[in-house]
């Protein structure tokens, strides 16, 4: 697994703060106790039910690109959290904290409030 470029945020991210994307089902497959930060390029953003899917291309230290599949809130949750189908487009470079799959496969879950563009601008802009 090429995770060399990933900064482990376990000490920085509170487990209790993670959870709003859940609801459709148990998110037990994702390791909420060891969140990681990914920096990558958006390949695809599926604004679909029951959960949105963000496919992120992450370049490792050796230059190899790994495609991460990230499951997030349903459109109904994301819209209320300030994210729409147009919030991310192909080619956007983002930094995002995710809860990785226990299996070690390149998948995880994400929260809209833990995603930002490379310039620091938050991806989600909550509605009033």
């Amino acid at each position: 697994m090429r995770l060399q470029s990933l900064a482990i945020w376990a000490s920085l991210v509170s487990v209790a703060a993670i959870g709003d994307a859940r609801g459709h089902h148990s998110f037990a497959m994702f390791d909420t106790e060891h969140p990681i930060e990914l920096t990558g390029t958006v390949k695809e953003f599926r604004f679909v039910n029951p959960h949105s899917i963000l496919i992120l291309q992450v370049k490792g230290a050796n230059g190899e690109v790994t495609e991460w599949v990230l499951e997030g809130g349903a459109p109904a949750m994301l819209v209320r959290a300030g994210m729409t189908a147009k919030s991310l487009k192909v080619g956007d470079e983002i930094i995002i904290t995710v809860n990785p799959l226990h299996s070690g496969a390149p998948g995880g879950s994400y929260q809209p409030d833990r995603a930002k563009f490379k310039d620091g601008t938050p991806v989600a802009v909550p509605r009033d």
């Binding site: 037990a28 497959m29 109904a76 799959l101 226990h102 299996s103 496969a105 998948g107």
Partner: protein, 300 residues
């Protein structure tokens, strides 16, 4: 078909399927002839005299955390579900499976609706529509719909079970002020699989669950709605009562929630997997084996 109010229902004790005084079951028995009480669908909405009903209509959001049935208690074992030893063991197995990345017995990841009573935990908001003979609870999440019949009918004997069950309601003027303030609801005829919440607190495999609810507005805040939910189920040692609270949405916005659209979780055999961006299977557990392909003829 237009429906005339059948008759004024009375509450009487019905033979308990649970055979236990600690789990009393009541049913609404019409005072008129049974034939007149059996109402055929479809049911037309009866005009509503709004002065007689509480302002339930509108959008309602969950108050409290996700992933719990009792909003006043922590999730998982912290819910202190009064399970029988047999069903506590089933629950422990669910927790053990989830500890390794599985779903346990939670069926919702496969887009099976939450069903009752879990649906009332409101992952997403709900709209209440009150008519003179039926109150509708329209849940945004998974597009679940509850119809609560308030026309005096009795429970049918020939209906197929469903995840939301068959609900009969009765409006009560508890304060005696000439306006209804409580909607009492009894729900039966439920279908499995269901769990109370996502960690897999189980319901009995016999699906003989009976749910009684009392819906009412806060006495001082009409923008707050309560649902007292009491569940009678053979997986429980006693009826389990929780109170769920909801807040009114003042700028309703509704978003479609069709689960089958893009679900990436699949069950093959007894294992669950996740699809990647190319719809190929990914393991979700450490060391998880691929599915059994013995029915495929492999090229040599």
């Amino acid at each position: 078909m237009a429906v005339q109010p059948c008759c004024v229902g009375s509450i009487s004790r019905a033979p308990s399927k649970h055979g236990d005084e600690s789990m009393p079951l009541r049913t609404i028995v019409g005072a008129c002839a049974l034939a007149a009480c059996v109402i055929a669908a479809p049911v037309a909405a009866a005009p509503l005299d709004e002065s007689k009903y509480p302002p339930f209509a509108g959008q309602w959001f969950r108050i409290g955390p996700l992933q719990v049935f009792d909003a006043a208690k922590p999730k998982g074992r912290g819910q202190e579900a009064p399970l029988t030893p047999e069903y506590q063991a089933i629950y422990e197995a669910n927790l053990a499976d989830q500890a390794t990345g599985g779903f346990g017995d939670d069926p919702v990841y496969r887009c099976i609706p939450e069903g009752m009573p879990r649906a009332m935990t409101l992952v997403l908001p709900m709209e209440i529509v009150v008519t003179g003979n039926t109150t509708y609870l329209l849940m945004e999440y998974l597009s679940m719909i509850r119809r609560i019949y308030t026309d005096g009918r009795d429970f049918p004997t020939d209906q197929e079970p469903s995840w939301m069950g068959y609900s009969i309601g009765k409006w009560i003027d508890e304060d005696g002020h000439g306006r209804y303030d409580v909607l009492e609801v009894e729900t039966r005829n439920l279908k499995n699989p269901r769990t109370f919440e996502p960690s897999g607190i189980p319901m009995h495999r016999d699906a003989q669950t009976v749910i009684k609810e009392r819906l009412y507005l806060d006495k001082t805040n009409p923008d707050k709605l309560y649902d007292e939910i009491t569940t009678y189920d053979h997986a429980l040692t006693r009826p389990w009562t929780v109170v769920r609270a909801m807040r009114r949405g003042h700028n309703p916005m509704w978003i479609e929630s069709i689960c089958a659209e893009g679900n990436v979780h699949v069950k093959i055999g007894n294992e669950t997997y996740m699809l990647n961006g190319d719809n190929l299977l990914m393991p979700v557990k450490k060391g998880q084996q691929p599915p059994d392909l013995s029915l495929f003829k492999q090229a040599k």
